[in-house]
Point group: D2
Chain length 357, copies 4
């Protein structure tokens, strides 16, 4: 375990919510087919250089930017802050941490005004912005909605080697932990952190990082998620359904994980719970509880533990990975050396399908 | 229109969310049958003096207190504040306004610690509290969930004669208006105000007040609301379904209004949208737009406009009503003198069923 | 009440199910916008003379034919029979009844082979056919499905003056009554009759006839029906939502009634029950039971009782109406002279909204 | 492959539908907890000797009989026939086939009158009955419905070594094949056969038999099935969820497989399609098509292929198994020697999770 990231003396910027992902894809047309034709995201603006997409309930310019590039990777995780002054706070906060910082008064992408990008102490490219172009909120435009309508960007999920270190840093930034996965020895395998009063704006998942584990959009109901699966079957791309649909233990949400043409993972997610009270109780799951990741005990496929998207530094170069030194969740739960139970005290081992193979 | 309520120089308490309603009912057993047996609210505690109920996602002691009394009325609308210090702020804020204030370190009801009750300038009994007993969040206890499971207290809705005056006071308290209903002359018929980032924690509905228009609980999905209707049919109490189910124009939520044994109105509500950005756009509806209250143009029954629950002062006496002097929404939209349209510019008149009677 | 229609000595044709409606519309483009763009029916074939539409689960050529004409009316209610020989049976059966009969070996519309049309003793144009072009069943083609996907033609509903007389004739044709609405004096207001093992292939509704009350399509789930309402709101045609959505007492199905550009009524319907056992119990509803037509007691709008589509004779001329002489369901349930109750024995009067106007 | 079962010269009984399963369980209390407390089946009658259960839409005495016994096994698969005379036909039909036959004028179980049981040529104990006690159809009794309400017995699924031989015999009995799974060499792995106009009343699954693969109940909607999963998670019996939920390729239904305390497999199933036309098109799936059993390509767990319930002969003794000699579906699709594809022509191998282990 590495040293704790220092807590700056400068106040943290007041983050409102996770707002958009700036994503590099290797084939813009293929990605458009996935995000627009399949998932039904709304095109706010597009050119050969970029496609700006939003969800049906969104009123800011975009929740996702797709830009073509040589390496499929994440260019920025962007948070909206409460006021223009929070950008100054973001600069001061990260300056104390010795981060590389870049500020652009006219924004890094279209639709956004003054913005600050930093490479944070965990290695992730993070953007803060307040100024943004307003667009039509299409909540009432039901004639445009698809069976799997995505109504909101819900959260990011990041892979990082040392989860407590990462979580402490995010707490310095004003995030609160809502749930986590631990073992009896105190090893933390993952933590969920929120600014907005849902289970998370981002999660920290233990593994070699910095990488992005996934981006998540919300639907209104569970059948919307099932419709996306059914459509992927109809399009004969069911092999891009990586995991689910299912019910999470953590967050209590109904979920699905699918893979875009570059292998960027997208979660579709619905119905977690209110976490906005200051004393919202932390939910801690035992890593050996077989219902923590899927409430129905369905297996987590190994790729879900191992694969993630690289992230870029502010020059656009992939950030090298740091290896996780703590034990991995996959190792302690899946396969010959793994151990998990349905009922505390049981001696069952492995996950549902793994038992049989 | 009466004078504006002054803005105190003291800072407002930091309200987190609407938290519970303290409700007087005339027959506790009958109310228990409605709220527990029919609606499936969870009993945290009960005695001959009071029943404490909560929703499935709730972790604080209760969202609703039922207490027997001679007059069916509202004893308090309770908000949770961010910290104990906010109680001092609530006292200072309302002292400046000349309100009657009562503070009880051990709370006004069970499960709550230090609490402040005021009769606010609009005449409503309002409670602020921070200290509260934590109870089990039953989100994962699906074996206890009913087909119409209520997962969250969503909002209050108050009747008051002068909506802009009431809304301005709530803005002083830190609320923000998310939607409203106006006419071309600027008369405001209703306004929706939020602290938590949904469409509202409370709404101000124009009419003789102070009265409580309704209390609203949220479900996860639309079929949960339909299940409540179906069950009320099975129990042969469909005459207690007052309005709906339907889709609101305002809030975009799916809704149902039902009446408890005393005529207290309860809304069941699901799927409005995120309003937590500081520049969340205000949605203003034309009072003559026939889709403002029901997106499908189904009629608002007259009782919905006219009936509401009395509220009590801090001594438990009903607060006398002040008459609305602005035109009423019912008068301008329903019946011979009313006018409403489906498409702007149309000359249609009246509501769907009214046209035919 | 007129004389009973004689029972032919010839055996009835073996009807499999209601199969399609041949419908005359006055503006083909407007009807296409309604049935294709709004409702999402699949176009099997189209020309300036006709549009052939089907549901997603259908494998025969069409469930609805739209043809332009000067008078909006029904040209035929078409049933599929079990074998080619059943066409001979249909001819013999209706010959005995003195009906006008026309047989066309190449069909009356595209996609259909040998077919028999009769003007039945009730005045309705009825078609029988076996030969039909098969088309792709699009059940698995989820990429084509809409949020309100229609998966099956469910039933017709016909207006006729003398319901017992009509029902007896349909029983001669092999139909069985599954449910009906009566009063204590034995007046029958409506009857539901089935060949396929659902609640009905057609219903007989008391009124001036012959007219078509409505055509009904099935969805898989209730939210599909709600999606149609939401879309009609978005398109600002909510005034074409005539009644519902709601839960029927009769049939226990979830329903919606909407009006096409010519005023032809379309029901969207889901989840009735199995009726295929030979001793399936008849369900009889009291006409004064306020939950018979809407399980939640929501009002039936007067137009729903009074309006219906004319039908054409085999020459394409509108069939003159015979007036109902029995009391009408609207008269005995709605308004000053009507009477209905939520609980048997109650003395409530009128329907929910009517009480208040 | 063994010889074809002869086609009797006697006409087959007219089977209406699969009606109930007579099931031996080893711990009646444990089974009651599963079928009544968890699944919410309605108890028609119970004693220490037997529990009679039905679904919410059922009007005959039961759909499932649970009887305690030393060996968990199936005592009879019972079909309802159209008339009392069909029992004579059943006797004649099976007499020609040399089957053991037993007829009891007062029935084999409570609630049933005159009934015939045979051990059919495939080794299965099959009952035919017409006389049955009617009970209340609880379709409208929504106050009794659970979140996962089961509304209908949908089908049986039987394991038999030679699928074409079994299917041919069922066709002699009047069944029709709606779908099947084959390979390019013509080996048939499974066939779905119907009397009622759904995809099946029973299916024949290739394997060592006779055994019962599963019994299936229908819900109205997909969320009902998800509610059962969620409840099993809450009860910490998620290890009894064997497979799913998912979307079938075959039948297009949404499904879930769970295991009762004895390992009897129960499917929960919803939304297949109409098959009642005489020329309903057969759907044939390639055994190598990875979407045939799960439209989303999720893996079929090995136990689903290998495990099934023994059946009893008319004396109550387990029927010995005959080994399947054709290749097994598991062998040709799963693991090192298996082969399956998402897109025809692909060279993908194995199923989603198998690829990775």
């Amino acid at each position: 375990m590495t040293d704790r990231i220092p807590t700056p003396t400068a106040p943290a910027p007041d983050i409102v919510r996770c707002a958009y992902l700036d994503l590099v894809v290797t084939d813009l047309a293929a990605s458009r087919a996935f995000y627009v034709d399949l998932l039904g995201l709304v095109v706010t603006r597009e050119s050969p250089d970029a496609i700006y997409l939003r969800t049906f309930d969104e009123f800011i310019h975009h929740n996702l930017v797709l830009r073509p590039g040589p390496v499929a990777a994440v260019a920025a995780l962007a948070y909206r802050v409460r006021s223009p002054a929070d950008l100054d706070r973001a600069v001061a906060f990260h300056t104390e941490l010795g981060c590389r910082i870049e500020r652009r008064p006219t924004g890094f992408v279209e639709g956004i005004g003054d913005a600050v990008r930093v490479q944070d102490p965990l290695g992730f490219p993070v953007e803060y912005f307040y100024e943004v172009e307003h667009v039509e909120r299409l909540s009432w435009s039901y004639h445009l909605h698809t069976p799997g309508a995505l109504v909101r960007l819900d959260h990011f999920n990041q892979v990082t080697p040392d989860v407590p270190r990462a979580a402490a840093h995010l707490e310095d930034l004003g995030f609160r932990v809502t749930e986590d996965i631990e073992d009896e020895a105190g090893t933390v395998y993952a933590a969920w952190l929120r600014r907005k009063p849902t289970v998370h704006d981002t999660a920290m998942t233990g593994g070699d990082g910095p990488r992005l584990h996934h981006l998540a959009f919300a639907t209104h109901e569970k059948h919307n998620i099932i419709a996306i699966c059914d459509t992927m079957g109809a399009l004969r791309i069911s092999d891009r359904i990586e995991r689910g649909p299912g019910r999470h233990g953590v967050s209590n949400a109904f979920y699905l994980y699918i893979l875009d043409p570059d292998g960027h993972r997208v979660e579709i997610y619905t119905q977690d719970y209110w976490t906005g009270d200051p004393d919202n109780p932390l939910v801690t799951w035992d890593v050996h509880d077989n219902q923590r990741r899927d409430w129905w005990g369905n297996p987590v496929v190994p790729s879900w533990y191992t694969d993630a998207s690289p992230v870029l530094d502010l020059d656009g170069n992939p950030v090298p990975l740091t290896t996780r030194t703590d034990t991995s969740e996959m190792a302690v739960t899946v396969g010959a050396d793994g151990f998990s139970y349905t009922r505390d005290g049981d001696t069952d081992q492995g996950f549902k399908l793994g038992n049989q193979l």
